[in-house]
Symmetry: C2
Subunit: 212 residues, 2 copies
DNA sequence: GTCAACCTACCGGCCGGTCGGTAAAATAGC
DNA sequence: GCTATTTTACCGACCGGCCGGTAGGTTGAC
């Protein structure tokens, strides 16, 4: 008899543990969050929680992979179905931004607590992040070749995009002035307005508007 | 006899303590950094360090104010001397970005470990950050009124700017492909290209280039 | 002889993690 | 259908260790 998949109930409880733990860690930071904090938030004791997890680091590692799974499923995979490069970029920024604003699922960005992991775990997470990064930069390169990108360093531009998106988690509030969709739309406007060449444009060039 | 300024030597040592502590906290995070770590990095014991500081939280608070002082002196104050709004924005983004890339002075962004402070300390830091934020947003508003800004939410735009700038500390390396000046220039290009209206521009408007 | 600049030694407390249970639910044997 | 056994899902009590912080020196410069 081989390793058996856990029962559906167990998986549900695990997901609940991940979500609860992620919220607390996101708010207080990994190191400032004790295993006791997480257990209490789940209405159980630390020893009880250890029935489900094998260690604090492993919990963080699992949550990070959970978040990266989300990012892949909801952003990277759907994006691949979009042929037009500009539309694909638009989708990625918008979908990623909305993922970050989702209260429950704002898990993605705590992928940056990578120093808290063991070296081996850290390498795996860094590798997965890197794949996402390279894919995005590749898209920018593609746009550049097509002459649809301003004259910018695509590596720096990718970091700028991700910085803007990830920073959302610091300021976006569910009860704030903007909805998640509006905030995502603003991000798209601001970032792409800067990245995409608008036909032709430069401070030293005079432009005339002509009705198409 | 009123409160006397500490000796120059004492001040120098204090500054060294701040810089060293800031570097470690920046790398490992506040909670993951023990007072012992900081003391050892300074070649002394914990008790010796406590000769200079009054507590771990107070140390963090002092470092944050130190960073905000830098930001004020090197970005906010010089910016006030620039009359043209667009040039002022250009300067702020560039100068702030370069401040963040400075290995030693990358202190500014750990201003985000605000949850580690006491409520009273936190309020003071938040207040100072808010002043800087409001000033920057006010500048964007000014540009908007002058018709030199795209149709974006200035609050969201300010957060985007700061997100891009602060994110620099995560990816910029002194020994990387870009110098601090180049990275700052890229940031300016990317962010302002998106924020400033280039005479007139829209996906639905055809443009013709005319030699000025 | 004073005082700044450190030190060694120690404190209570919380940390991540473990141990040996237990009550209840699921499963097996008949 | 009823009991016997195993498994699941927890808990209370505890461990060694490091944490922030302190008390009380020692030493050397002025």
């Amino acid at each position: 008899m081989k390793a058996q998949k856990k029962s559906a109930q167990n998986n549900e409880r695990l997901a609940e543990i991940y979500r609860t733990a992620a919220q607390i860690i996101l708010r207080k930071g990994y190191d400032a969050t004790s295993v006791n904090d997480i257990a209490n938030a789940l209405g159980m004791t630390k020893a009880g929680l250890y029935h489900y997890i094998s260690g604090k680091k492993e919990l963080l590692f699992d949550i990070m992979n959970f978040g990266l799974d989300e990012l892949e499923e909801e952003v990277a995979v759907p994006a691949r179905a979009i042929k037009d490069a500009e539309a694909r970029l638009r989708f990625i920024v918008s979908a990623h931004a909305q993922l970050v604003t989702r209260g429950q699922g704002a898990i993605t960005i705590l992928v940056d607590e990578v120093t808290a992991l063991t070296p081996a775990q850290g390498r795996k997470i860094t590798q997965r992040k890197r794949e996402y990064f390279d894919n995005l930069r590749g898209l920018l390169d593609e746009l550049k070749v097509a002459g649809r990108l301003q004259d910018v360093d695509t590596t720096a531009a990718t970091f700028c995009l991700l910085g803007m998106i990830n920073w959302l988690s610091r300021w976006f509030r569910q009860d704030g002035a903007l909805t998640a969709e509006q905030a995502a739309a603003e991000l798209v406007k601001i970032s792409l307005g800067g990245l995409l060449v608008a036909e032709s444009r430069s401070a030293k060039t005079r432009l005339q508007v002509v009705k198409s």
